[in-house]
Amino acid sequence: MSLTLFNVILAVFIAICFVGANAAYLVWCERKGAGLFQRRPGPMENGPWGLLQPPVDGVKLMTKQLLIPGGVDKAIFMVAPVLAMFPALISFVTIPFSDNIVAHPIDVGVLMIFAFAALGGMSLLVAGWGSRNKYSMISSVRAVSQTVAYEIPLMITTITIVMISGSLNLSDIVQTQLGGFWSWNIWPLQKQVGFNLLMPVSFLILFVCSVAETNRAPFDLGEAESELVAGFHTEYSSMGFGLFFMGEYANIVIGACLTVILFLGGWACPVGDLGFFPFTHHVGWFLLKIYLIIFVFIWIRWTFPRTTIYGLLNLSWKYLIPISLFNLLLTAGLLKVF
């Protein structure tokens, strides 16, 4: 018991460091990536290739004045950034980075991640409500309807995978995909279901949903810069804003982790247990995969314009939910057959 508790605390501590470093350097990656996509060099003044930019930005954010506008609901206003950051941290507890690096392999790990992701949506609502700003209010209402619309296909797709793997434990889900990239869940050919053409489509659905879940372009309706100024974090300054920012990037990492674990074989080596390759169960594979996914996140963000709220709901209710539902039924049928 005590060992588990220690494990969890240690994991949260490591997660904070990991998330902090990730948030800082993902911002750098984002800016550098944006620069390169846009024919410009991106940050390059502080340190080689601008690598010292994140710490400098961090110091700037921390030393700025935390401004609390008059008339805000102070308690709610203060608790919202924490609420944005915390669920993302907790979710890391159950993510398996390798076959033996996992803080606490909870049997209902998938469920836990979704529970905390929903709490993240809550933080946007609270921030918008507490800010006493009309833009923030509109933004938070948007964010909530977006969260509701996207959790459904996200969960249905995940249930499909859970049915194939027969477990809600993330480590077990990875275990079923061992042995080379051809046994990953993304491919139509599976030993459990035979042949299901909708599996790559499912992967796309999950990917789109995780982009929408993390409020990133083209689904960044919550902070829609050109419409709602900065949306729910318009009134936040200093580390209040910083926590939202870190929370956003932590959520991106969680989303990427989930995509990789459910569909891309987690920490499994792409060429399988061939004997001559020493790093078959390595954390390196996992990190490589999640950063590839994050690169696609960045790539998408710097390519597309923003959708509108009805476009987003249309996409969710007309395409993502029916297709994922159909895939669920098909998978269930195929599982019965094979």
């Binding site: 846009q38 009309k134 960044d220």
Partner: protein
Amino acid sequence: MTEPITLQQDETFVLNVGPQHPATHGVLRVKMTMDGEYIYNAETVLGYIHRMHEKMAENRTYPQYMPNMGRLDYLSAMSFNHGYALVVERACNIEVPERAEYIRVITVELNRIASHLVWLGAYVLDLGGFTPLMYCFDDREQILDLLEAVTGSRLTYCYFRFGGLYNDIDDDFITGTRAFIKRMRKELKMYAKLVTGNIILMKRLKGHGPVDQNMCQRYGATGPVARGSGINYDVRRNEPYSVYPEFDFEVPVYGEGDSYARYLVRMEEMEQSLRIIEQALDKLPDGPVNPKKKPKLIKPPPGDYYAAVETARGNFGIRMVSDGGKNAYRLKLRSPTYSNMHLFDEACRGMLIADALAFMGSLDLVIPEMDR
């Protein structure tokens, strides 16, 4: 898709968009009465950068007023200079050498492309896509470099003189412009792939922001806004000035009247401008760029004069009344976006705020020109 509900007046709140807001590109303020995300009523408030340009004309000599023209519409300063030069030339009967006319057309059309590029970038930025803005600015940079080498200035050119030009173009400019045309044709194909064909953009623009012909006529909308609503009106074609009749170009007209139609009109205008520049470069005659005899002091005979040009945003008209003195007695500027903008109040009723701002972007507003 945007009017399934009836809006309730007693359940509204007022959202103050601007004068400092990322979507208004300047200091335009819109007081929106909203029911949820739907706009019940909108009221545009302008005048935040009113600088009394019309009054300034009354206490400056004619040549002294020329630089003011670039400060109206900073994106197509060349066209505005052209309009003012035209009206004074008409008033004083100054003959413009042919070479100067051709160079005027080339620079004005280059400027029009630059203006549309800024619009394209800023518009997609309004819609949430950042990257096209940077590509547009890269292309615009080529134009600005070309024009800077000739005129000496990047934005407020003040290149035209009454009867001619500030100075002649050189061979570098001609080869540079030819290279730019080639590059721009390739880039336009890229924009078509990256922006025009994009499903997200199409879903946001098609069928949104409807402006019909009647509304255009009532508000006096011109330029791409009118042409996007099926009104075939282009000053270059309908009231030809300069040497435009000698060029073969099309006036793109779309009848849908939605934001996407206005978008397509501008994209096609860039292509047509390239065609005009190409023809003008081919036909460019030799000769002087300033008239041989030109009055030392510009003093138009008493009378009432008018000239109109097609700027990137529409019909820009100048009415000048002279009493024979060194200064204009009265100078009235009819600027295109001032008329185009007033559509917004009426057309945006019942829209979602996101669509309304997309609609505002499609009108291509330049605030300094509106406020003057």
